[in-house]
């Protein structure tokens, strides 16, 4: 154990003392902060733009204005739904809540009644007065004489938000007009939709549980799936992150010709364990740092919204559930070891970084397969494909975690854990052979096939 810790310590410090590590560590929070600031800045710095509508009466202008108002209402309702889904308090009536963002397109009276008259305003040579001061006209809608088109004129043909809003407004206007002509009220469709029978989700529970907790689906019901999905993705992300560490770290030692010295001081399994642990700790440090950043952000959010604990508590309860935690930990550890030693063994066969880079692409593709399986399992955990795939050792660590919230048969869980253990031991045995051949005897990628044949022949014998 002491030797494992010494190998771990040296490798870990070797990684974390490198500039690249700190750059990687800082990159994600910086990216998030800069991205959020940029989005916020872009949102706030987006200028207010004026538009005018030339038509005999205000039919289209009012329709466009109403469409903007509907969009603002939709944003508020979406925010309410999200808050309700997380058991957070919501304000009373949607109509009482002000828009979440200020409107960026404002209608102003048209300074001229034809295109030639509008041209200098549209081309920025003259300004019009409005709520945001004097500005050029961003766009103008002109109804054609035959009323078949509402032409959209602007100097900026790339900014289509206003045009799309107008198209949506006109579609709504057309529908309302058709309903009115058919003798139906304008809000007929909305009333019809409101009258439809709703289909609320209910969770079946035992009678006593139902009496105590009711039948409504809460976050506590969904948390195990979220947690399992998060853990499976976290495992995948960890493995994905360690590829280059394990490849490059082993190449450095092979090119430094240090293995003979190491192997007269530590056992091969100690060496492998120390190195795996170091890379695990490096990636954990990164994830933990990013996690702390996220927790810090969440704590700040919670200080603004005290009821945020309604979200956190069910998730923590799901994580602490032994039915999920135990298989998840077994899957996590065995999956990490299984993939880790494969990459480490392959790295030991490479002499140069260029040689290792040629291996990166196939490894990435190999790792995309579990990712597809994770996505499928998350979407449809009961799929027979997921059931079958969970018996394939390279998928088992991820899919077993994802299946746990859906209460798979106990014998399947135990059998799959044993399968993972057996596979991990087999991979460990063979990877150790490959590692020794590569690190000590200088074998290359080209010798891999020979090693596979000789390894399994000897095993068979």
């Amino acid at each position: 154990m002491r030797n494992i810790l010494l190998i771990f310590r040296r490798d870990y410090l070797g990684y974390v003392k490198a500039w690249g590590f700190w750059l990687s560590l800082a990159a994600v929070p910086l990216f998030l902060i800069i991205g959020a600031l940029f989005m916020s800045f872009a949102n706030h710095s987006s200028p207010v733009r004026y538009y005018a509508v030339i038509e005999p009466n205000r039919t289209y202008a009012d329709a466009i204005d109403a469409e903007f108002a509907r969009g603002e209402k939709r944003d508020i309702e979406l925010a309410r739904d999200m808050a309700e889904g997380m058991n957070m308090p919501v304000a009373g009536d949607t109509a009482d809540i002000p828009p979440l963002t200020s409107r960026k397109f404002i209608e102003v009276p048209a300074p001229a009644d034809n295109l030639d008259g509008l041209r200098p305003f549209l081309m920025g040579e003259a300004t019009v007065s409005g709520p945001a001061g004097d500005r050029p006209l961003f766009a103008a809608f002109i109804l054609t004489p035959d009323r078949s088109e509402l032409e959209y004129w602007s100097d900026d043909v790339n900014m289509d938000t206003l045009r799309y809003t107008a198209e949506s407004a006109l579609r709504d206007l057309s529908r309302r007009t058709a309903l009115r002509k058919a003798g139906l009220s304008a809000d007929f469709v909305e009333k019809a939709e409101d009258a439809a029978v709703t289909v609320p989700a209910r969770r079946i529970r035992s009678v006593s549980e139902q009496e105590a907790a009711g039948g409504e689906v809460t976050l506590a019901d969904r948390a195990p799936v979220f947690v399992a999905g998060g853990l499976a993705y976290f495992l995948w992300l960890m493995i994905f992150s360690i590829i280059q560490y394990l490849l490059m770290g082993t190449i450095e030692e092979r090119s430094n010709k240090i293995f003979d010295t190491l192997l007269t001081s530590v056992r091969m399994p100690e060496l492998l364990a120390g190195k795996l642990l170091a890379v695990f700790a490096v990636t954990s440090t990164m994830m933990l740092s990013w996690g702390l950043f996220a927790v810090g952000g969440s704590a700040f959010a919670a200080s603004q919204v005290p009821e945020a604990s309604n979200v956190i508590a069910p998730l923590l309860a799901a994580i602490a559930n032994p039915g999920i935690l135990l298989p998840a930990m077994v899957s996590f550890i065995l999956g990490y070891i299984m993939y880790g030693v494969i990459f480490m063994a392959l790295g030991s066969l490479c002499d140069t970084i260029q040689e290792a880079q040629t291996l990166l692409s196939p490894m990435m593709i190999l790792l995309m397969l579990p990712m597809f399986a994770i996505m499928l399992a998350f979407k449809d955990p009961g799929s027979p494909v997921v059931d079958m795939a969970s018996w394939i050792p390279v998928f088992t660590p991820f899919l077993l975690i994802l299946r746990m919230p859906h209460d798979p048969p106990v014998w399947e869980v135990v059998a799959q854990m044993l399968l993972m253990l057996a596979t991990t031991l087999l991979v460990l045995w063979f990877a150790t052979k490959v590692y020794r051949a590569g690190a000590v005897n200088g074998a290359g990628i080209g010798d891999l096939g020979k090693m596979v044949r000789s390894g399994f022949r000897k095993k068979a014998a």
Partner: protein, 324 residues
Amino acid sequence: MTGSPLVLTDVTKRFGAFTAVHRLSLDVPEGGIIGFLGPNGAGKSTSLRMSLGVMPADEGTIRLFGRAPDIGSLRRVGFLPEERGLYKKMTARDTITHFARLKGLSAADARARSVELMDATGLAEFKNTRISKLSKGMAQKVQILSTLAHRPDFLILDEPFSGLDPVNQQVLEDLIRAEHARGATILFSTHVMEHAERLCDRIVMMARGRKVFDGTLDQAFARLGQGASLSVEDGYDLAAALAPKGFEAHRTQSKGHGDAWRITLAPGAGAQDALRAAIEAGAPVTGFAPDEARLRDVFVSLVGEAEAADLDRADAPADMEAVS
């Protein structure tokens, strides 16, 4: 200690159809300095790596401190591999400390020992320098110090002088003598026979994977016909003068300042005995030169000139490394 630190019995190693080491038996006596000699490709490094369990033997048995090599027995060994390697981003002191800790020293002892060794070998000012910033010779010194740091009972050094300039070769020789004086058993491989002549009390010679000689330096030299060259004034019959004393003398050439004679020594006699006999016989001696037998000559006598030429070829890269 428990007798011989290392015993190899009929050890064989093959790489495919090539036999790198053939039925090698070796008993390294406790407290000795043993030279493991031979050209590149003779099987020296393979034998040493097998001795330490880095590489398994195909046949034969290996006993390191009385048992198969394991971490317990390896803790008593300091090994300097032929292919040098250190962590380039570690400092010199951290490197020595790390390897000393891997050999069982506590953190405090390892740190103190690394400072002590670096101070003693003139590396003190470089203790916080990264290995990548050190010259090749200095980095090699750091690796040698890493090998010695845990005060091993048995030092195995594979081509320790390779890549060192003459000054540092002398420093290393002094270190080896100091370790020997401390009580360590030392086994080192080299293809440069002069190092072995200066340091070893016993040598093992390898050629093409086979052991061709195993004995003391005297025993090695005894395999050669020892002799001396004597010059006497012109016309003096040295052969007649020495014959009664048991020495055989043949006139070889005249250099204008007397006749040169080649003396074949009597069994058990040294060159000085021949000189003494000539003076006692009243010979007008004008010059004397005992034969300087070299291990290379012994090696030639054992394996032939063609094989010995590999030694000279093996020297070339070492010299170039020293220059670089």
